[in-house]
Subunit: 658 residues, 2 copies
């Protein structure tokens, strides 16, 4: 059969180039790459509808390489096909074989693991931290469905990485959302880094698990061109049929196919030496001869893109002010009470943004009634853009990454504590360059009664690392936002949507007094001065603004006129903050209800960089908290209540006066 | 049947107390609690072998409440049984009904979610962040097996939380390790916080998934005392039989059992109002009558502990010095090269510690040949204490927590990047008070060729938050350790084992020059001065020590005599570091190859707190890196190579001279 001969020929050619590339780089995974050679050949040369000159065309089929380390095989195909590469779409150029041989070089787009941000647009998202690809594929499929595109999303998943629970979260999600457009292909080559994979990831067990989850499964020989072609054809039918069951392919493959006599299947993540490479290439030539592998141009062909998407490029509408939004959604009476939980305001903003911007989508993990993302779901005009991800934060985050890859603007909410479950997935999204809008609710200790297992406390520290970076465009890579009241939460959610990059917004559980109004301006990087003094500059954010507010009159009684800065953004304007500090005798007290290495430490960075004589005292949570029935109880137990703030200020200024 | 009548009576009594408790607290989860009432009654009053006066006795059966929010039902039983509570075992006291009613109060041991560290020793580990309990149970079972104890580990898991992939990682692990002592009980009450759980978590689908994974399943009515008793009896047989298949129980239950007419099953995480409570209590009384519920003392009884463990309390042996350990394990020639990767030294130390301390266990996630934890596995005397967790970091970390709960000292290694996958699990372990020894390899950018998906870069920032806390004993809660050479890595691994609390050790991939020797002392909280100058204090750690070393002679050429501090520990001795800074004109340059908000920021904290006039310049990774073939390539691209350090120092001192 002509197809068989051509597939073998092309697969072997790609394996050979993978070997050349990895040996040139001195590292890489030629054996994993080889196990995918036939699958990749049929996908990229014969089955996927795409254009190598525009591989991320909105209507194009996409390939997510979940087992990112196998990327040399895709790079080899890209070089052979002259696929475009380059960071700037204006200057894309066809990839050459020479460029393939520059794999992993510092100035090459051919990165060690898949990363579109490095300049390889064929890959929809960065992978390499394992187990995340199927969730990304789910997100891409949701985006395509919203856009009315019939594109298919192929996802190549290693058997070893199928041990990651996230894969099974993704399978459940795929069935819940009936994502027949996704084609999960499990590459069962039987070996991980440390020898044989567990029998729990053997092909027959994988198939049984998938079937138990409600997925049809085809188990095939992943090096048999006819079997692959047939399995992909079956999937194509499933993808089109409205009532079909989602289906997956479990492929038995050989790690190091074609040269196991040189590098055994148990070799992982090591390139062949020059000598081994020569042997392997010769062995592959022998294999090609034995299989009658012959490339004939007409046997394989990339199907053209049949859909020209009529993407609904509705312009973004202006967002109403908070009061107007509340009126619009029948919640106007909320403001009358003079206090409101910032998480509620987030829900209102999310709903308003949903109407203003058709790209906005919302995801939550079974706590939508706590985060108030439910406002979005309960709006009939928006509900198709809401995705309930259940208690599976990892899948939710990678799914959001996939939605972003599909052109959407994902707002992802859960308790700040549970976002921690997906920090690795968030990091992969940031590496990909996606504008993830992350919303962690119930942050700090004001959640009180539920105790530390539900409180976000080291989150400021983690996200602050990302605020110290610059994006490729030279701007802060991420903004961390801590609204202290409902107006601030509303305005910062709107600002976050308008910003091109990723953000992390922290919302509070309790009702807190309103501090601002609709005329207050909030900007990423901004702050507000809530009280002007000259003895001490108190810098706080979120819930602690209210605690400091209680402390201010007590300080006045002690003869201390304090400035209060609501430092709602990290990063912030260092110069402006230093100016405020100087106006307060260089005395700074930071107050936060999370662990250290956080906001106060960001202020320390600014002071220490400037080099003047400043004194900073940091108040933060210094032990793991326990449950208390009220925020006050918990704050007192942590020495962070208003009287503690007063005491700290007095002690500090006494010391300074000496 | 007498048992049936008594179980109903007790279950209803516990539900009533749960209602009282949660209403008194003003929050909590009475409906979830009620769904577990019959299961908990049979477990705690009739099936588990334990002593309420010593609930964490090494030989006792244990109960892990994975769905931690349902804890009021267990607290109710504990109060009824007079179970001991209290943070200090010397002052344990029997819990009373009044104490139950102080649920969630700030000075109560009855925390909002299970936490032994809060003073409730019946719970082996903190839970409440969902999906982690079965992994903890696995760890407890492994510990019991090592100690030759036949105890059983019961784990109550919610259907909603079974969406977490970690549950399925734990199921695979349980089958791989044939942990028949673990009894997973899935509580299928059909509701999560946001309404019905997905059909993917319906009882029949759960059963099918478990069977596909190789687990026997009994599907029962979770409010039928006879069915529960029989299912637990079947498990008891499985637990004893050497060749039996692991088995699980899937229980259909009702959320809010006995009072759904008052609080529907769709009520989650809300306590009954006083009025609702009165109604619910009356409804429960009616139900009790209808079921003929009557408590008779003899019907149920806690089986006594049959095993008195002859726990092998071998004393901890001294650990040899590095050279001696290398000799012992036939790796003496390593030192001759003058350089060695710190990760290799970790492997040697781990092996030595395994011999010195029988409590030491090792876990890895399919990268043991990269972290060098394989040394432990390949030592015949130690291999039974090595657990290959495959590519499933979340299960690995919670499993380590379970091992710690079982009295072991777990050393957990993987790439630092992949530990991020389990930050939430690590946090739960820290909340529990476990001495987790975490080892992240391939940290910083010196991994180079594999790119950012494999590099640990925000990890210092995350773990630094934990270094700002104090333990209950008033000591630093966690030490973050960054050895710069093989001697340091060996010594710090040994120091970490000797320390009672948790630690995070970062190891490097490349071979780096040896800086120290066997006479160098390393202490948690310590540092070393590697060069003494007077113009500038350069503070670095890990790989960057070597880069600064290259810069020192170049600085000398520029007339700059710099001090070099190897700040290998966070927290560190602030006073000593400030002294060094003062001796260097108050000029400090920090150099690290991870993101900001990290070591340099810790130095900023110290400087800003002191309040003198210091100037700090921080060098760190300011953009997401890409692959490079060598560490040098990557450092240069990030402006962190030796010439960049020189340039920064010159710029800094020029500015200072003005």
């Amino acid at each position: 059969m002509a197809l068989v001969a051509s597939v073998h020929a092309k697969a072997i050619a790609l394996i050979k180039l993978s070997l050349e590339m990895t040996t040139a780089a001195g590292s890489g995974h030629p054996t994993s790459a080889a196990s995918l050679a036939h699958l990749v050949t049929l996908l990229m040369y014969h089955h996927m509808r795409y254009d190598p000159a525009y591989p991320n065309h909105p209507a194009a089929d996409r390939l997510v390489l979940s087992e990112g380390h196998a990327c040399p095989i895709v790079y080899a195909a890209a070089a052979d096909l002259g696929m475009v590469i380059g960071q700037d779409p204006q200057h894309w150029r066809p990839m050459t074989r020479d460029e393939a041989l520059r794999l992993r070089a510092i100035d090459s787009e051919i990165d060690g693991h898949p990363n579109p941000a490095a300049g390889f647009p064929f890959f929809p998202a960065a992978t390499g931290s394992l187990g995340q690809g199927l969730s990304i594929a789910n997100g891409l499929a949701l985006a395509a469905r919203l856009d009315g595109l019939d594109k298919r999303i192929f996802c190549l998943i290693g058997d070893g990485e199928s041990r990651e629970g996230q894969i099974w979260e993704a399978v459940d999600f795929l069935v819940d959302y009936h994502l027949t457009a996704v084609c999960p292909i499990f590459n069962c080559n039987g070996y991980g880094q440390s020898g044989r994979v567990s029998l729990q990831q053997a092909p027959e067990v994988m198939a049984a698990k998938l079937r138990a989850a409600g997925v049809d499964v085809q188990v095939i020989d992943g090096h048999n061109p006819t079997a692959i072609q047939q399995a992909l054809a079956v999937h194509a039918v499933h993808a089109q049929a409205a009532a079909a069951t989602p289906c997956a392919i479990v492929a038995r493959t050989v790690k190091g196919w074609g040269f196991t006599s040189v590098l055994g299947s148990n070799v992982h993540g090591r390139a062949a030496t020059e000598e081994e490479k020569i042997q392997a290439l010769a062995t592959l030539d022998t294999t090609a001869q034995r299989l009658g592998a012959t490339w004939r141009k007409g046997d394989l062909g990339i199907p053209p893109l049949t859909t020209t998407p009529a993407l609904d490029l509705q312009p973004v509408q202006p967002t109403p002010c908070f009061r107007e939004a509340l009126q619009r959604y029948g919640q106007e009476d909320m403001l009358a009470q003079g206090k409101m939980a910032p998480r509620r305001a987030y829900g209102v903003a999310l709903q308003a943004l949903g109407h203003a911007n058709p790209r906005v989508v919302a995801l939550d993990a079974d706590v939508r009634s706590s985060t108030y993302s439910e406002n979005f779901l309960h709006d009939a005009a928006l509900q198709e853009r809401f995705f309930e991800c259940r208690i599976a934060e990892q899948n939710m985050l990678s799914c959001a990454a996939g939605l972003a890859a599909g052109g959407k603007l994902p707002f992802v909410s859960t308790f700040g504590k549970f976002l921690e479950r997906a920090y690795d997935q968030i990091e992969m999204g940031l590496i990909s360059g996606f504008p993830l809008k992350l919303v962690g609710s119930h942050v700090g200790v004001s959640l009180a009664a539920d105790g530390p297992s539900q409180m976000a406390l080291p989150d400021v520290s983690f996200f602050r690392a990302w605020t110290t970076l610059r994006s490729q465009a030279g701007k802060p890579l991420l903004y961390l936002l801590q609204p202290a009241d409902a107006y601030a939460a509303y305005a910062l959610t709107v600002a976050m949507a308008a910003h091109e990059g990723p953000c992390y917004l922290r919302t509070l559980r309790p009702d807190v007094p309103l501090l601002y109004n609709d005329t207050t301006a909030f900007a990423l990087g901004g702050h507000h001065v809530l009280a002007e003094g000259h003895d001490l500059c108190i810098v706080a954010a979120g819930y602690m603004i209210h605690e400091v507010h209680k402390a201010l009159p007590l300080l006045k009684e002690q003869g201390i006129a304090a400035t209060l800065v609501d430092l709602y953004s990290l990063p912030f304007d260092d110069v402006a903050i230093l100016q405020l500090v100087q106006e307060n005798q260089g005395q700074v007290l930071t107050v936060e209800d999370n662990y250290g290495a956080s906001m106060g430490s960001a202020v320390a960075d600014a002071l220490a960089a400037h080099g003047g004589a400043y004194t900073l005292m940091q108040m933060y949570v210094r032990q793991i908290p326990k449950s208390g029935r009220t925020p006050d109880d918990v704050l007192r137990s942590l020495h962070l209540a208003a009287p503690d703030i007063v005491q700290a200020a007095v002690r500090m200024l006494d010391v300074a006066a000496r």
